[in-house]
């Protein structure tokens, strides 16, 4: 029963994403053909040609039939052809996705560790001048646009100090597989991951600080003291044990936001992840590509949510069955 419910909920999200993708070219202002073909091609076509194209794409059939066709196409891996890359959208996105996942994985891990550690410490000394100072700094970092931070990192570490390369993901000069090549990849990973981590840590810090403060004020913490439990043990085994729950939930909910940040950061570093496809898609009016990116992004976030849903019961016995 619970399984069926969870599955239904995930299916609903996929269905809504599909519906949005399906509806966009049909609802958006303008001719549906203008979303399928580049402008210059469209300008040279006659009306008969256009009708023929419409028939070829099945756009003259009833909407429900079109939707079923579309859904089947997507499920069989057919996301259409990218105009700007001249290749199937599925392939283009799959080529770029690993780089985005690499960025996200590192910044997710770093920001969670850093934010939790610093936030929990802040909860212990809540209310002091230093706490307020730290709060303002963290809020500022969380308020800054991530692409702006990325640009400033380049200014300092590439343009001024010349320490790190600011372009791409792999060195063009080193032989693939060599130590120099691997080091080149690491070098190019540092700045994008740093930019993402800075922004992401702020959110984790705030959650960790407040959920720890809430946990420390609970009756069971007082009762643990009354049992004679040493102070450190009360802090770690009682307060932190429950404070972890909201931190975990918020980090997992934040994966979607982190993905957004990664896409933007990639454009600054010309990092060959999915984010660069967005810019290419916007410039070339490559609508198929943008839809494909959106769909893959949705599926990735759903996968992250699924992992969160399945692992949460290990942390919180109250939701175990």
């Amino acid at each position: 029963m619970v399984w069926a419910k969870t599955a239904a909920a995930y299916l609903a999200v996929v269905l809504i994403a599909l519906t949005i993708n399906f509806a966009l070219p049909r609802l958006a202002p303008g001719d549906p053909l203008s979303f399928l073909l580049p402008e210059d091609v469209l300008a040279e076509m006659t009306e008969a040609d256009q009708t023929a194209v419409l028939a070829e794409f099945g756009l003259d059939r009833p909407i429900p039939v079109q939707f079923v066709d579309y859904a089947i196409g997507v499920l069989t891996g057919d996301l259409g052809t990218s105009v700007s890359y001249g290749a199937p959208v599925w392939r283009v996105v799959a080529d770029h996705l690993p780089w985005t996942l690499l960025l996200m994985g590192w910044s997710l891990a770093l920001s969670t560790l850093l934010g939790t550690a610093l936030g929990v410490m802040a909860a212990r000394h809540r209310g002091g001048t230093r706490d307020i100072g730290a709060t303002v700094v963290v809020l500022f970092l969380g308020s800054a646009p991530v692409f702006w931070i990325a640009m400033l990192l380049i200014t300092v570490f590439s343009a001024r100090l010349g320490w790190l390369p600011s372009f791409g993901a792999v060195p063009l000069t080193a032989f693939p597989g060599s130590p120099g090549y691997l080091w080149g990849i690491v070098e190019r990973l540092i700045m994008p991951v740093t930019a993402l981590t800075i922004v992401q840590t702020a959110g984790v810090w705030l959650t960790a600080r407040s959920s720890m403060a809430v946990a420390l004020a609970r009756d069971y913490v007082t009762f643990a003291h009354a049992k004679g439990v040493p102070e450190g043990q009360v802090f770690w085994r009682h307060a932190l044990r429950t404070a972890i729950l909201p931190i975990y939930t918020n980090v997992m909910i934040g994966v979607g936001g982190l993905l957004g940040g990664a896409l933007v950061v990639e454009t600054v570093f010309s990092y060959p992840g999915v984010g660069t496809l967005i810019v290419a898609g916007v410039e070339a009016r490559d609508y198929n590509l943008l839809q494909g990116v959106f769909l893959v992004a949705t599926l990735s976030v759903i996968a992250a949510n699924l992992v969160a849903d399945l692992t949460y019961p290990f942390l919180d016995p109250r939701v175990r069955r």
């Binding site: 999200v13 646009p145 702006w148 200014t155 069971y220 004679g228 009682h238 990116v293 976030v301």
Partner: protein, 813 residues
């Protein structure tokens, strides 16, 4: 015998002033930014669109931030770009919040399928990755900032909707909402007058959060090249800077830095403004509060002795030189009403106090040790090992994510036992408190309230302490469960030879169980002695009042009325109510619960009928059905010859005067509400009702807010509200159970006077059999939705049903 005790928390500490200073900083930053972007472009001589200097000019006097790649003045661009960025943020926040509020209230109010559909949709939209969604929408719908606002609203209304709807749902279930509906208020009235005003404090942080997200998202969209090409925002300026790789040249200082900094500062201003709003962080306790002043000399040789214990919260003194002594093996009952300082005294002995508390002077010994003078490090060897604490509200005292066994074993291990010893001891303790051993691996949420309290007792006894402090250990438990816990504690303290400090507000209960009583009032010990001596010769008026308020189960009836002969007023015939039968509930997996099974009662004008039963027996459901608030699945109800309807001849007095009226309302408006809803002029009647309820009827009281009144005063206002529209039937749902003993008698006297004056019929709901016997003419006993017994109040002692016998046993001396 109250099941809901006083809140034992200390007076709330004033809000940290620095927090609101943080918020003022946010307001200041936003005001300055808005002023600059509104006035700036009016002062500047250049239009942001015209080319006024050579491309890539460095900063100069006429162009302080230089120029961009097409020779436009950057300062002019940044100032007018701010207008776009901030406007997008604020307009989006305005529209999305309004949308979310309306849908949240509607969805929560309608419930059922509408609510399910809305929430499932919201869940699904929220699971979509935010930025890619906005990007794909913007790409198709074109780049203009009006479209951007629309798209941002479409995506950003879901999060606030979810939070506001959860709150609206709580508000809809609140007692004061019920009260308004019982007065016959329309849905529109309740939502606009009660729900919306209470929701506003939550709407504000949502607005801030959306503005925050909208400004950042707009900048990201524009940075990706999806901004309005004509109206350039800060994000668009950065897009061009990035496209021209301005960050690799000196131009980063005047082209990249200013717009990004301004975005960050605007969003920071919003974040500061929203920081701490809606935070209801309570202070926990601090371990090891130090004594400021002098110790007191020890006088006796009792095992536990306290002398001259004086404590204050800020300016307010909570304990004034309190002294007590308990010889080894005896039980001392510490009695006090809310705010008397009884729990504070217990926690002072354990040195577990809120940060605001200051121990001024005094001593508290257990054996040779003055607990108030012990070094902090030594405290933990006293806690648990020498003094065990049985806390109030065990549901909150157990860690929800750790197993019962690990929490019991921990209490053994921290005092030096090995893991194996602790495990064995935990099993032994479970047997001691009569719990099955196999529940050691259970988590607290799977146990009933009584079982959790037993676990808490096991933890208190884990390290074999000599002294036990029981702090209202039966708070929140059902009457019969209370009794079993008390028996267990008494039995254990006798078997283990414990010295017990038992804190309670329940005089008749403790008088039966403690050797000596100590009476605390406003932080002072006012009386002390054996229960029988105090009852015979009280040494203080407060003691006298406490004993006078006791209603014994036997003896003469306090309110003995003639047999009522008035007209039949209430006729409840075979009424059944089943919850959770609707399709939406079934879809949620709710099992149907039969709350009432063919209940039948009758009540005449001028008569008081007691409805008695434990928690969950269906008393309140029956009351709601009589008021017309609860649809029936079967049976018939007649009130004064008509069908039950909200705003009809029946009114209700709720149990909790803190919940049944909104604290923000004025006394005048609360009492006038039944008239306002009926469209009747309130003047005169409000004052009359207030003086009938024994309150002053001057403007000073009429203009006060409910929040500034005490519990006793509030309940009188509730009575005034209940009688203002001249009802025939009063439904009183445990009207005295939240009040202190001394106030109960006053309220009952008031109800009796009103009954006699207006020939009111009263349906009196209570779990207290003794109270029902004295105040009611007849009693109906309820158990699991059924009326198992009805009869004259006087004859209740002869009741035959086993459940009734258990209830009698629980209060019989």
């Amino acid at each position: 015998m109250s099941s809901i005790a006083e809140p034992s928390s200390p007076p709330p500490r004033r809000a940290t002033p620095s927090l609101s200073a943080v918020q003022w900083t946010g307001v200041g930053m936003l005001s300055v930014l808005i002023a600059i972007v509104t006035l700036g472009p009016m002062v500047l001589p250049f239009d942001p669109g015209e080319s006024v200097c050579p491309p890539f000019s460095r900063p100069s006097l006429p162009h302080p931030l230089g120029c961009n790649d097409v020779g436009q003045d950057l300062l002019a661009g940044i100032l007018s770009g701010g207008r776009i960025s901030l406007a997008v943020g604020l307009v989006t926040a305005l529209v999305a919040t309004a949308l979310a509020t309306v849908i949240a209230i509607g969805s929560a109010w309608r419930g059922g399928f509408v609510d399910i559909a809305v929430m499932r949709f919201v869940d699904a939209v929220m699971a979509l990755p935010f930025l890619p969604l906005v990007v794909v929408l913007s790409a198709f719908f074109g780049a203009s900032y009006t479209v951007q606002i629309g798209i941002l609203c479409l995506v950003l209304w879901t999060q606030p909707l979810r939070e506001l709807r959860a709150q609206a749902l709580n508000l809809r279930r609140a007692d004061y909402t019920d009260a308004a509906r019982a007065m016959g208020a329309s849905a529109w009235y309740v939502t606009t007058r009660h729900i919306l005003p209470e929701l506003v404090p939550l709407i504000v942080p949502q607005f801030i959060r959306i503005a925050h997200a909208a400004i950042l998202t707009e900048s990201a969209l524009s940075f990706l090249g999806l901004g309005d090409p004509i109206a350039k925002s800060w994000g668009t300026i950065l897009f061009h800077a990035n496209a021209r790789t301005a960050f690799l040249t000196d131009a980063w200082l005047w082209w990249v830095m200013p717009p990004g900094l301004l975005i960050a500062l605007s969003v920071l201003g919003l974040a500061l403004l929203g920081h701490g709003i809606g935070d209801r962080l309570q202070d926990g306790t601090v371990s090891g509060t130090e004594r400021d002043g002098d110790a007191a000399p020890r006088l006796g040789d009792a095992l536990v002795e306290a002398r001259d214990v004086t404590l204050s919260y800020g300016e307010a003194r909570a304990l004034h030189g309190v002294a007590l002594s308990i010889p080894k093996g005896e039980t001392l009952g510490l009695i006090g009403e809310s705010g008397s300082g009884k729990s504070t005294l217990a926690m002072t002995m354990l040195r577990l106090l809120p940060p605001a508390a200051r121990v001024e002077r005094g001593s508290a010994w257990v054996g040779e040790d003055d607990l108030l003078g012990l070094p902090k490090a030594a405290l933990r060897h006293v806690r648990g090992r020498r003094i065990g604490l049985v806390p109030q509200a065990a549901m909150n005292a157990l860690n929800p994510v750790r197993s019962v066994g690990s929490q019991i074993a921990e209490a053994v291990r921290v005092h030096g036992a090995t893991r194996a010893e602790a495990t064995a001891r935990a099993a032994e303790l479970m047997r001691l408190v009569s719990l099955p051993e196999d529940r050691l691996s259970a988590h607290p949420h799977t146990l009933s309230g009584g079982m959790r309290q037993r676990v808490a007792i096991a933890i208190a006894l884990a390290a074999e302490p000599e002294v036990l402090i029981a702090d209202e250990p039966t708070t929140g438990l059902d009457v019969l469960v209370q009794e079993s816990i008390l028996d267990l504690l008494q039995d254990l303290s006798a078997r283990l030879g414990l010295t017990v400090l038992f804190i309670t507000h329940d005089l008749p209960m403790i008088a039966r169980r403690a050797g000596r009583l100590l009476i605390l009032q406003d932080g002072r010990v006012v009386d002390e002695g054996a229960p029988t001596d105090l009852a015979r010769a009280p040494g203080h008026v407060h003691t006298q009042a406490l004993f006078d308020a006791i209603l014994p189960l036997r003896g003469s009836k306090r309110w003995d009325r003639d047999i009522p002969s008035g007209a039949p007023l209430l006729e409840v015939q075979e009424v059944s109510v089943t919850f959770g039968t609707g399709l939406p509930d079934r879809l949620r997996g709710v099992r149907p619960v039969q709350a009432l099974r063919e209940a039948t009662i009758r009540l005449r004008a001028g008569e008081v009928l007691g409805l008695v039963g434990g928690s969950g027996s269906g008393k309140t459901t029956l009351a709601r059905a009589v008021l017309g608030l609860q649809p029936m699945t079967g049976g018939r109800i007649e009130v004064a010859g008509g069908a039950p309807r909200p705003g009809g001849p029946a009114t209700m007095i709720f149990q909790d005067p803190y919940q049944s009226m909104r604290p923000a309302m004025r006394v005048r408006d609360v009492v006038a509400e039944p008239l306002t809803i009926r469209g009747m002029p309130p003047e005169g009647k409000v004052r009359q009702a207030l003086s009938s309820a024994g309150l002053p009827s001057d403007d000073a009281l009429l203009d006060r807010r409910l929040g500034s009144l005490s519990g006793g005063q509030r309940q009188r206002v509730a009575v005034a509200r209940a009688i203002v529209a001249a009802p025939k039937l009063l439904v009183a749902d445990e009207p005295t159970s939240m009040l202190d003993q001394s106030l109960r008698a006053e309220l009952l006297a008031l109800l009796e006077r009103l009954r006699a004056e207006h020939e009111l019929g009263i349906l009196f709901i209570t779990h207290d059999l003794a109270l029902a016997r004295h105040f009611c003419d007849r009693i109906a006993v309820m158990c699991e939705g059924e009326i198992i017994e009805t009869g004259a109040a006087d004859a209740i002692l002869e009741a035959a049903h086993p459940y009734t016998r258990d209830l009698i046993k629980a209060v019989d001396a």
